[in-house]
């Protein structure tokens, strides 16, 4: 049974099954949008935390690190409550839409992006702080230097965030509702099709998801290799 399902799965991929590719395209769209928003929030947050000194900084970094391990279903539940008709943002009518899924993923991956950015920037700031003072480098130029010199590490951070977003299931299931042709993404479709016994499409999506994970990890490795070759790690 498994052999035939696997062959069917490969067939679905090879014949560019419309449903399969619709799910794949929505998954990528949601995850990339969430990643972009998280980068816009996470890079400045992580950088600001790294280069500024203030009372309570240690508490902030501890909280940020703790948020990296947010349980997806809890995030899904909180976003659901916020977006449901009786919730504070219910009037927007976003529940069970791709936008709700993006919001849930943003809540999940922003702490990851911000915390990893903080770690990278903190190391760089310790290395460059006295030099920048000595060269009389002003803050905007210093920040752009941090971002540029940390570029390889930040790309790795981006890819880690994307990997987390694309493979997430709990939160998007709760706030998206797994509605066919509207909010069904790879992870929720795999869960549904498996429970229905439709192993071919579940396996096909699994293969695609695995391929995406491999591509992302391959890119991370390539970026790291290039960075270390130039001594930029």
């Amino acid at each position: 049974m498994l052999d035939s399902s696997f062959l069917d799965a490969l067939g679905l991929i090879a014949t560019a099954n419309a449903d399969l590719y619709e799910i794949l395209w929505l998954s990528v769209q949601v995850s990339i949008t969430a990643l972009l928003v998280s980068v816009i929030l996470g890079f400045p947050l992580g950088t600001t935390l790294a280069i500024s000194d203030f009372r309570g900084k240690h508490v902030c970094t501890t909280v940020l690190n703790a948020l990296m391990g947010l349980p997806p279903v809890v995030v899904g539940l909180l976003v659901y409550l916020a977006l449901s008709r009786t919730g504070p943002f219910g009037v927007l009518g976003l529940l069970y839409t791709p936008t709700a899924m993006v919001i849930a993923q943003v809540v999940l991956i922003t702490p990851i992006i911000a915390a990893l950015t903080y770690q990278v920037m903190d190391d760089l700031h310790r290395e460059y702080r006295e030099l920048f003072f000595s060269l009389n480098i002003q803050l905007p130029k210093a920040v752009s230097a941090y971002l540029w010199d940390a570029r390889y590490s930040l790309i790795t951070t981006l890819l880690a965030g994307f990997g987390r977003a694309i493979s997430e299931v709990g939160a998007v299931m709760i706030v998206g509702g797994n509605i066919d042709h509207l909010t069904r993404v790879m992870t929720t479709a795999i869960a549904l099709e498996t429970s229905k016994g439709e192993l071919a499409i579940a396996l096909a999506l699994g293969v695609v998801l695995l391929a995406l994970a491999l591509i992302v990890n391959g890119l991370v490795t390539a970026v790291r290799t290039r960075a270390s070759r130039y001594g930029y790690t």
Binding site: E127, Y128, E130, L131, F133, S134, L135, N136, I137, A145, W148, D149, Y230, G231, Y232
Partner: protein, 242 residues
């Protein structure tokens, strides 16, 4: 303690550094204690002393990297009220994760022409490596680049914290030549070294520091021929000063 004198005719162009009872206390430890010096000489002021004497802390205080906990200091150029342009070369070179040329461009705040930057690299024998990643240079090359980068900021006062420690003789020679050249162009240098031969070659005056205190400040010739403090005598005799 003797303070070396400078002829009055030269003083109008010379930068002066004066510290008044400067002190640094960190977590109950006194690291610098009642440092009162007046440097009015041109050229290179050499700071000598055993490890842990507070040499690096003193120049970090003077450069503004560390706030002294006691006393004050003044760096002034006669008839000039503007802040004195300063630069510092650290013991361990800190280089941006970019090419050699980009490291120089980053520090340039005077919009130097590319040919000027190339000349600066040529002066430290790094022109051929201008497109290489700076972090892949050897230790000596990295320190030469650090010096070129400090000089491209056109400082009037240059702090150097053991810039030639553990470097190859060729790099030491290039760095010393550049320091001398900068001195001739009016750049005042405050240089930390453990190399007595180097101190003899470069210094116009010497500050000897031990356990956070200045035990002697005199002109170089006097210091090396007739040191006044027991610690400086022991140091010059190659004895271990604790």
């Amino acid at each position: 303690m003797v303070t070396p004198e400078t002829p009055a005719s030269k003083q109008s162009k010379i930068l002066s550094i004066e510290t008044m009872s400067l002190g640094l206390n960190i977590r109950g430890s006194t690291l610098l204690n009642d440092i009162s010096i007046q440097v009015t000489t041109s050229g290179v002021t050499m700071i000598l002393g055993p490890n842990g004497a507070g040499k690096s802390l003193l120049i970090k205080c003077l450069h503004g990297l560390i706030e002294p906990t006691k006393g004050r200091f003044e760096i002034a150029l006669h008839r000039c009220s503007d802040p004195i342009p300063q630069a510092m070369v650290f013991q361990k070179p800190v280089l941006l994760k970019r090419s050699v040329m980009e490291n120089l461009q980053f520090a340039d705040q005077h919009s130097c022409q590319r040919t000027d930057l190339e000349q600066a690299l040529d002066a430290v024998r790094l022109l051929e490596k201008k497109d290489q990643p700076a972090t892949q240079l050897s230790g000596g090359e990295q320190q030469r680049l650090s010096l070129a980068r400090a000089l491209i900021t056109q400082p009037k006062l240059l702090f150097l914290d053991e810039p030639t420690a553990s470097l190859d003789p060729a790099s030491v020679l290039i760095i010393e030549q550049l320091i001398n050249q900068a001195s001739q162009q009016g750049v005042k240098s405050v240089f930390i070294s453990h190399d007595i031969g180097q101190a003899k070659r470069l210094a116009s005056d010497v500050i000897f520091l031990n356990r956070g205190q200045v035990t002697e400040h005199t002109d170089a010739a006097t210091f090396f021929t007739n040191p006044q403090s027991r610690e400086a005598q022991a140091y010059l005799n190659g004895e271990i000063v604790l």
